[in-house]
């Protein structure tokens, strides 16, 4: 695996699969509108080679006002459609601002879909603020830092999540800030599980 890893950036070139292409197409719209975002889901492990697919990709976007959301909605709707509601006000006021996700798929498709949320607590805000830049085939995307992504997957706790954590830890263990990872293990109260499954 050829990967360039620095404190705030990871550079990776790979043959893109359909999920990568879906993410890049969606994210390029957020980049264009200068909307801050971070990818937080199992897609992070798929991006770095985990051999599984996913029907949804989780994403936090910064809290934007309705006008900015309208701008985003109009551009997104050229390629994507919202699966929750076709009504922009409903999507914004009854979903996003109520801490519920809205899902976008490519037009006339259902999966994969991008699950878009506003950050709802301190942890989500921290993730957005400390996002890590990935240059994937010269395209910029932002992901959750590994020091949080790995412990959080263990915290979620399904077999699939623990497998994702184990995979990412195997790939990145010599590159990440172990003290920060341990701090999240402690805060999420998963130190025993970490030692059981990842050591």
């Amino acid at each position: 695996m050829e990967i360039i890893f620095s404190k705030n950036k990871i550079e990776l070139k790979k043959e893109l699969n359909n999920l990568d292409k879906f993410v890049i197409d969606f994210i390029s719209i957020l980049n264009k509108l200068n909307i801050e975002y971070v990818l937080v889901s199992g897609y992070v492990s798929i991006l770095f080679g985990r051999n599984r697919s996913s029907e949804d990709i989780d994403l936090f976007i910064e809290k934007i006002n309705f006008d900015k959301f309208s701008e985003l909605w109009d551009i997104l709707n050229k390629q994507f459609e919202c699966l929750n509601s076709k009504d922009i006000k409903d999507s914004y006021y009854n979903y996003l601002t109520e801490n519920c996700a809205i899902r976008f798929s490519r037009k006339n498709e259902f999966i994969p879909n991008m699950e878009v949320k506003f950050p709802k607590n301190d942890l989500d805000i921290w993730t957005l603020k400390n996002k890590k830049e990935v240059i994937l085939n010269n395209k910029k995307i932002f992901i959750s830092p590994m020091e949080l992504q790995i412990p959080f997957k263990i915290f979620l706790g399904s077999e699939k999540d623990i497998e994702d954590a184990r995979y990412l830890y195997n790939i990145f263990k010599n590159k990440i800030d172990i003290n920060l990872l341990k701090e999240f293990n402690r805060k999420l109260n998963i130190e025993d599980l970490f030692n059981k499954y990842l050591r």
Binding site: M1, E2, L16, E163, N170
Partner: protein, 50 residues
Amino acid sequence: MRTPKIDLKELRKFKEQNFKERLEFIDKYAKWVKKNSNNKWSSEQKNIIE
């Protein structure tokens, strides 16, 4: 219809064993990914995902 006897304790043991084997496989797979070129692993990943 006669249904089989189910030993839940035994099934849980098999489930745990299966999970342990999958984790070991992930270690092997991660080692393989690290050893191989991006082109090699991502092209295999693409075949599986699509």
